[in-house]
């Protein structure tokens, strides 16, 4: 053919089979005259274009293309079948894929002619060839094809990649007999999305063929399976939305039965959790999710040992389902049911464990931590490695406190930037240093570097402490904090009629009101209830000042740690909450009884502080550190998908670890990067120019000492 005018594809029907075979072979070998006939772009495979002519062609065209392909396959030399170069392998794979594409359109006899060749390729040592051959065989409608695949599955001990072709072939032969195959492969499909999709397709085909028989078959076997397989199968069925499934009604009757007399057996518990999980994956079933959780919790045993066992099962179940779900409605249902009641304090510890297991499993790196770290640090390294020159000494380690506030995400990002710039520097996270004790921790050499609100340190600082502060634009700025109130409490005090359902949660009740009006309302509410505020923080002082200035009852302020204060609010022990943004975001997200009352104006600036020892001993390093902070905004906000996903996973995991290690009273957890960013929206990172930040010696002096006095005695200072 080369050397004369090549045919153009529309002439295909007029070509003799041998000419079509020549063309197909030439395409497989990427011969230019054949490519020209296709007008292929550099980014097109010639068989892609041929597929479009095949699909548009008449029966005669299809037959001649199929004949040509078969002719090409049968003429391949043994060397071509076990290619040694990438190009050779690509040519054969293209032809095999094209074969798999066209076979569904051929009748059994025409397609069956390919089986000997494809069967031989199934036994090839090249994995791509094996897979494409299996896919092609699955399109041949004959018992021989099925036997070929079954035999290979047994020989290779049921490899996951054979599952989809095998089920596809079987579904054409006898859809209702599919379930036997599905059961065999369940174990191999655990944690494999492609295999799970094949199973789901198989189940769908069974149900399409005969819904009643299919459901009866599944129900009969489902409860005999090991828990992990049960959950996989149950989840796949639930996603298909087969709500008329009778097992659902069995479980529904279980959860709706009288709680006082029936015993919650392990099987009951398993069934109820399966149902809740399935419902939580469906749309418009929120009421069912919460009512199912409510009934389950009501039936938990009172015996502590038995209760602990049941909660352990719930914990394991949560851990198992977390990676499979893209949201956390399963967990939210439990939170909603537990919060708002006094007995929630007893369940809080269990809830905390369930949350810990759920989020740890959800954010467990799928491909290992190193991949996420590598993705993030490689990008950050490209930002910081070329920007700064550093010739002086570098410390061997840097100790940075961890905190249980949203700002920890900024510090973790800074840690990553530092690690990218100084790969040999050991960064040690120091837990347990209270937010307001950073100054003394730096002075006592318990840590080297920390983030804090400038004015908090000034309130609490001692005049003889000398620290270093990063001057220039602050790391972040905060304008205000949300003040929360209990929905029932507001309704009882005639503030409930002003909103309609969910709208109150989207906007503050006093959205555009003056602070005077807000103060009057808060003063009024404090006559009837208490507010919890994190003790020894600027929030405490500010709120006390505000209430005192309006002549309100300052003794109604309950000062606790952030963890205890939030739990007091969520369990209804106090009626209002004024705390950190992470805790506030969690309360709003996990309990519908939390209502944002107002945005309480409170300008704060977040700055970095360092110990005197670090600043004096390593001046060059400190200059570098100042320069690195100008990259924080980029590092946190850049939207490159792979980087954003990796950073989000790392930050959420890091923050959850810090939260769950903080205290036994903590229930706060972060559900995802978006939630974390929501919490940080009120404290946005500040962009700044290179060189605009410098370290300077800093100590609380002058007027700030006066504030220190007020700060130490908190709200009571107004009475002195």
């Amino acid at each position: 053919m080369p050397g004369r005018r090549p045919p153009i594809l529309p002439q295909l029907p007029t070509l003799a089979p041998s000419e079509v075979a020549t063309l197909v072979r030439a395409l497989a070998h990427r011969e230019p005259w054949a490519l020209e006939a296709l007008e292929a772009r550099a980014n097109e495979d010639p068989f892609d274009r041929l597929a479009s002519y095949y699909s548009a062609g008449s029966f005669a065209v299809k037959s001649s293309i199929a004949d040509g392909l078969l002719n090409y396959f049968t003429c391949l030399s043994p060397d071509s079948l076990e290619p040694r170069t990438e190009d050779q392998a690509g040519e054969l794979q293209s032809a095999l894929a094209f074969c798999a594409t066209i076979l569904p359109d051929l009748d059994a006899d025409a397609a069956g002619r390919f089986l000997p060749f494809l069967g031989a390729r199934l036994g090839s040592s090249d994995e791509r060839q094996q897979r494409l051959a299996a896919v092609a065989i699955s399109a041949i409608n004959s018992l021989d094809a099925l036997q070929e695949l079954e035999g290979e599955a047994q020989r290779r001990h049921h490899p996951v990649w054979l599952l989809a072709p095998l089920l596809e072939r079987r579904s054409k032969a006898a859809p209702l007999a599919l379930f036997g195959a599905i059961i065999v492969w369940l174990d191999a499909a655990l944690g494999d999305d492609n295999a799970s999709t094949a199973l789901q397709d198989g189940i769908e085909k069974m149900i399409e063929a005969d819904p009643q028989a299919a459901v009866a078959q599944i129900e009969e076997t489902l409860l005999e399976l090991p828990p992990a397989q049960q959950r996989l199968l149950f989840g796949l069925i639930a996603e298909l939305g087969i709500t008329e499934w009778s097992l659902f009604s069995d479980i529904r009757s279980f959860v709706e039965s009288d709680a006082s007399t029936s015993q919650l057996s392990p099987v009951d518990l398993m069934k109820a959790l399966q149902r809740i999980y399935s419902l939580s994956e469906l749309e418009d079933t929120w009421a069912d999710v919460t009512s199912s959780w409510e009934r389950l919790i009501r039936r938990m045993p009172s015996d502590p040992v038995l209760e602990q066992k049941k909660w352990n099962y719930i914990k394991d179940f949560a851990s198992d389902v977390a990676p499979k779900t893209s949201h956390d409605r399963f967990l939210q249902g439990l939170q909603t049911v537990l919060f708002g009641k006094p007995e929630a304090r007893r369940s809080a510890e269990f809830l905390r464990e369930v949350q810990r297991e759920f989020y740890e499993a959800k954010f467990r790196p799928l491909e290992g931590t190193d991949v996420a770290v590598k993705t993030v640090t490689s990008r950050l390294r490209s930002r910081v490695a070329t920007s700064f020159k550093h010739s002086g000494r570098t410390p061997t380690q840097l100790r940075i406190p961890t905190v249980i506030y949203a700002e920890e995400a900024y510090m973790e990002t800074l840690r990553l930037l530092i690690a990218a710039r100084f790969p040999d520097l050991r960064i040690i996270e120091v837990p347990g240093i209270p937010w307001d004790k950073l100054d003394s921790a730096l002075a006592d050499n318990e840590c080297d570097l920390g983030l804090n609100n400038d004015d908090i340190l000034s309130y609490d600082g001692s005049p003889d402490i000398s620290l270093f502060r990063l001057s220039g634009p602050p790391i972040y700025k905060t304008d205000d904090f949300l003040y929360l109130a209990n929905r029932t409490f507001l309704e009882d005090n005639d503030l409930g009629q002003k909103w309609d359902g969910e709208s109150a949660r989207a906007h503050c009740l006093f959205q555009h009101s003056s602070m005077e009006r807000v103060g009057t309302a808060i003063g009024h509410l404090l006559q009837k209830g208490q507010v919890s505020v994190p003790r020894d923080t600027a929030l405490d002082t500010k709120l006390s000042e505000f209430i005192a200035s309006l002549g309100g009852p300052v003794d109604q302020i309950r000062r606790e740690t952030s963890d205890v204060g939030l739990l007091d609010f969520l369990t209804g022990e106090v009626e209002m909450y004024f705390g950190g943004s992470l805790q506030t975001e969690y309360a709003l997200r996990s309990w519908k009884g939390a209502i944002p009352l107002c945005r309480f104006s409170m300008p704060l600036e977040g700055r970095l502080f360092a110990s005197e020892r670090l600043a004096i001993d390593y001046p060059d390093f400190m200059n570098d550190l100042a320069a690195i902070t100008t990259e924080l905004h980029y590092a946190f906000h850049t939207a490159v998908p792979s980087y954003r996903t990796a950073l989000g996973h790392m930050l959420v995991r890091r923050l959850n670890t810090a939260l769950f290690q903080s205290s036994r009273d903590n229930v706060t957890a972060v559900a995802g990067f978006d939630q974390l960013r929501d919490a940080l929206r009120q404290s946005p990172l500040q962009e700044c120019r290179a060189g605009s930040r410098k370290w300077e010696r800093w100590a609380p002096t002058g007027d700030e000492l006066q504030k220190t006095h007020l700060r130490v005695v908190g709200g009571k200072s107004y009475e002195i």
């Binding site: 529309p10 550099a42 495979d45 274009r49 041929l50 894929a97 492609n194 999709t197």
Partner: protein, 265 residues
């Protein structure tokens, strides 16, 4: 070179593009010169074509980054549906029926979470991808909003997709719309990316250098079905660029266009 240029449509359009191509990298331009000069004495158009295409394949995506800042928000890709199915089978090792089912559910917004995860794990292409966007809105509007009818014919005409046989021109076209954030870089198209595709043309006359950032499609003026003739400026020339192969983005939208004559409301 002259004999190559006069050897047919391929040689003619190739030489026209090579002379005008401003986006070709220096290395690619040098390699093309070497190939053309190397075959000066041989007078063997077939051998020249072989070497020319090899050079094209080794210089994909050499046109430099599209200089638009920000990038168009929404990108569009359109392919002949059958060709796309074949690519999916080859690249992802799944059956055509699986691909058809996944894309049907994607188009109807009915993908189960499990199937969604599977689709997102699949490659959307094996090679660099030609894309377009809505030029009047700077990529804010959907990329194919220029269409006056939901016919695959109009789309093929606008993009210069194969339309050379009446049977193929009537085959469905599958389109994808996704956000540019899922793409690392957009590249300017070059003659090397076009290879033997004669429907590619270097943008002429060149726009001012500060806005010379992408190519333009070559709509079919000959309009084989004689359906669009007479409508001035329709279908419009669409901007075109390329990006590296990606997997299915999370919020990708899919739509199939069939050959029909129903006008859009």
């Amino acid at each position: 070179m002259k004999s190559f240029e006069e050897s047919g449509a391929f040689g003619h359009y190739t030489m026209r593009n090579l002379r005008a191509d401003r986006f070709l990298s220096d290395a690619a331009a040098e390699d093309f010169s070497t190939v053309l000069l190397g075959h000066y004495a041989t007078n063997d158009p077939d051998a020249l074509r072989v070497d020319y295409l090899k050079t094209c394949y080794s210089h994909g995506l050499c046109g430099g980054e599209v200089g638009l800042a920000p990038y168009p928000l929404l990108l569009g890709r359109a392919c002949d549906r059958s060709a796309f199915y074949n690519m999916m089978v080859r690249v992802n090792g799944v059956s055509r029926l699986t691909v058809e089912r996944l894309l049907r559910d994607l188009e109807r917004g009915r993908l189960t979470p499990t199937r969604q995860r599977t689709l997102r794990s699949m490659k959307m292409s094996a090679y660099p991808v030609w894309i377009t966007w809505d030029r009047p809105s700077g990529g804010m509007n959907p990329p194919f909003s220029f269409l006056r009818s939901n016919s695959s014919y109009d789309l093929r005409c606008a993009l210069g997709l194969p339309i050379d046989a009446s049977v193929v021109s009537r085959r469905p076209v599958i389109t994808f719309e996704y956000k540019s954030v899922y793409v690392s870089y957009l590249f300017r198209p070059t003659t090397a990316d076009a290879a033997s595709f004669t429907r590619f043309a270097v943008r002429q006359p060149p726009p001012p250098p500060d806005s010379d950032w992408f190519g333009l499609t070559v709509p079919w003026q000959d309009d084989p079905d004689n359906r669009l003739g007479g409508k001035s400026g329709y279908p419009p020339k669409l901007p075109e660029a390329l990006h590296e192969p990606i997997r299915f983005p999370p919020d990708v939208k899919c739509e199939t266009y069939y050959h029909m004559h129903k006008a859009l409301p």
